[in-house]
């Protein structure tokens, strides 16, 4: 049409819409929304809460799963951890009243040999014996799990020594009475002075403290591990494996609530380090096969941190999908709210539409006018939601001490979805406004 193109200024957007006209439409939209401030605010609340809840829930979820993953990673993703577990059916056997019965179960030194001999790709094997007992410093007492292990334990389990040192190969061979304390024990046994060079007593034996391990976050180091459930076992003390063998032998006596129990366990824990990360799953399968052949009753448990990590990642994915659907629903509800108000606004402004049409507005000018308003509404709602959604996790981590992580994509995604909602739910009211007959619209009182 020559008439419309008589005055062309600036850049034209698709659909014969100039930038200047769009700018004016935005200004007009802002004014019209500002005119009904309270209404606009209420309309937008649905979007605000939708966006805000998505961002804050994602941030909290991300924080939680990050912590879980960090814990698993601290076990070493190249490691496979075997633990001795008391077989469930052996309980019945011991209750049959044979007094000389000694319960024998768990991982044996023979297993170590077999794994080393038959499975390729296994580099280091880390055996450990765990013994529960009280550890004393004169009158202070801590219920502790003593771990008899080998000198390369810290390197393999990503567990660092913070002060002093770990014991050496030489000390292990000499069956030296030395120990390394877990950080949790230090304030309870040595509240004032450094424990290094001092002695602790376990039953009748004294051990010299030569180092302190770093503190482990959380309650324990594995998800679902048997020891992890036992909260009092958080205190750990490390002593050379050979020393444990010398002091305790292989039969452990325990008195519990009047009953007497004897167990023969060679190794409580065995950590296998696999040379390459790709091999971990295969080696785990091979170890399972070897163990199954030699242990008829399930008296062991195999934890593969890598598998746990994968599982945690999958859980996180599911969590994100669930969150995404909640977000989608809340944004949908918000969108419907906006559409509802826009439809009311179109009806209310029928006369204005008629006037504008009579004075030269094309259908698409009316569409743009109303669509701009809706997109502004949802966009402003989106921005408010993003700000609120960033603030809430900060408050949560400050007040509740939970770790929260705001990923960059979550506010971006939430905001763009809210803007999209504006477009989708704005189209129908806008088209309805544009399709009004100008004659009818002008007659409207």
């Amino acid at each position: 049409m020559s008439v419309t193109n008589r005055h062309i200024h600036g850049i034209r957007l698709p659909g014969g819409l100039s930038v200047a006209r769009l700018r004016r439409a935005v200004r007009l939209g802002i004014r019209s929304l500002w005119l009904h401030r309270l209404r606009s605010l209420l309309t937008v609340l649905g979007i605000v809460f939708g966006v805000c809840s998505v961002i804050s829930m994602l941030a909290i979820g991300e924080g939680a799963s990050y912590e879980a993953q960090e814990q698993i990673k601290s076990l070493g993703s190249q490691n496979i951890i075997l633990r001795s577990v008391k077989p469930p059916d052996s309980e019945k056997v011991s209750n049959q009243g044979r007094q000389s019965y000694v319960l024998q179960y768990g991982i044996t030194y023979a297993d170590v040999g077999r794994i080393r001999a038959t499975i390729p790709g296994v580099t280091v094997i880390l055996p450990a014996r765990n013994i529960r007992d009280y550890v004393w410093n004169i009158t202070r007492r801590v219920d502790c799990e003593m771990i008899g292990t080998v000198p390369w334990y810290p390197a393999m389990r990503n567990h660092r020594v913070v002060s002093g040192r770990f014991f050496t190969q030489d000390e292990m061979e000499r069956q030296a009475s030395v120990c390394v304390l877990g950080a949790e024990m230090v304030p309870r046994l040595f509240p004032i002075k450094s424990p290094l060079g001092r002695h602790v007593r376990v039953a009748g034996d004294y051990y010299q403290v030569i180092g302190v391990m770093e503190a482990r976050g959380g309650a324990g180091e594995t998800e679902g591990g048997a020891e992890q459930k036992d909260k009092s076992a958080a205190c750990r003390m490390f002593i050379p494996l050979e020393t444990v063998k010398l002091r305790y032998g292989e039969v452990l006596m325990r008195r519990r609530s009047g009953s007497f129990e004897a167990e023969r366990v060679q190794l409580h824990e065995l950590t296998v380090k696999v040379a390459s990360l790709d091999e971990v799953i295969n080696v785990a399968g091979a170890i399972r096969a070897v163990m199954e052949r030699n242990h008829k009753n399930k008296d062991y448990q195999i934890d593969v941190p890598l598998e746990m990590l994968r599982r945690a990642e999958r859980t996180k994915d599911i969590f994100n999908i669930v969150l995404g659907s909640i977000a989608a629903i809340s944004l949908l509800v918000g969108g419907i709210g906006i559409m509802n108000i826009m439809l009311a606004s179109v009806t209310e402004r029928t006369r204005e539409i008629g006037i504008r049409r009579a004075l030269g507005a094309r259908r698409r000018d009316i569409v743009v006018q109303f669509l701009v308003e809706t997109v502004l509404l949802s966009g402003i709602g989106g921005i408010m939601g993003v700000l609120l959604g960033i603030t809430i996790p900060l408050i949560v981590s400050h007040v509740a001490g939970m770790k929260t992580i705001i990923t960059l994509w979550s506010p971006l995604l939430a905001f763009s979805i809210s803007a999209l909602v504006g477009v989708i739910f704005g189209i129908y009211p806008a088209v309805r406004a544009a399709n009004m007959d100008p004659v009818e619209a002008l007659r409207n009182e």
Partner: protein, 228 residues
């Protein structure tokens, strides 16, 4: 002889109200030359409004042709009609039809707004026309702060801002007291004297008489067409 700027040729307009067919216009033909001041009169239901809607390109004839400035607009699509309305026609309504949330100046600018004129130019033109109808001291006011006569003057300024071929006025004095009405009609006389073409729809004989030509409609047909 000036070229006719409005040519209505055998125009019919039929409405379907459910199953009932209403013939609002049945074969109307007339021409209007540039600079004419014409009133369209008749009792209610005679087809005045229908004719005005057709003249204002708000509606299309069922049968027949409408040439505006030599251009046949009877078959044009909606966008082109919008463009014609915005650039070649000026509207003045009985109830002023100003947009309440906009200021006087912004109301006057609306037709230019849809023609993508630069803002500064719009502003300048609009304030010039506001001055012409004696409202330059009210530019920032909202319509509800003005009297009826003032509002109608804003509407006149708006109708003039795009320098239209034809100004269409639908009962422009219908909502006004007689003093304000006379004021408005005086502005019309003045505009006509400056060469503007005016079409005035009214059923008020006193108002109709101010025009130089009267077209009287009855039952969708032209009863008579007199110049005075």
């Amino acid at each position: 002889m000036t070229l006719p700027i409005v040519q209505i040729r055998n125009v019919h307009k039929t409405f379907h109200m459910g199953s009932v067919k209403v013939e609002a216009l049945r074969g109307v033909s007339f021409e209007i030359s540039a600079g004419e001041y014409i009133s369209i009169m008749g009792p209610s239901g005679c087809g005045k409004s229908t004719l005005l809607n057709l003249l204002g390109c708000l509606d299309r004839p069922t049968v027949g042709h409408y040439l505006l400035g030599g251009q046949d607009v009877s078959g044009m699509d909606d966008d082109s009609l919008s463009a014609i309305r915005g650039s070649r026609l000026g509207f003045i309504f009985q109830s002023y039809n100003l947009i309440q949330q906009l200021t006087v100046l912004e109301n006057i600018e609306i037709p230019l707004y849809y023609q993508d004129r630069p803002e500064a130019e719009c502003r300048e033109l609009a304030s010039k026309l506001a001055a012409r109808v004696g409202l330059s001291h009210r530019l920032g006011h909202k319509p509800f702060e003005l009297s009826g006569g003032q509002q109608q003057r804003v509407a006149i300024a708006r109708a003039l801002v795009n320098d239209p071929l034809v100004i269409l006025a639908d009962e422009p004095t219908g909502n006004l007291d007689s003093a304000s009405g006379v004021e408005i009609l005086e502005i019309f006389d003045e505009l006509n004297a400056q060469g503007k073409t005016l079409i005035l729809v009214t059923h008020d004989a006193a108002v109709g008489k101010r025009a130089r030509r009267t077209l009287r409609l009855r039952d969708g047909e032209i009863e008579h067409d007199v110049r005075h």
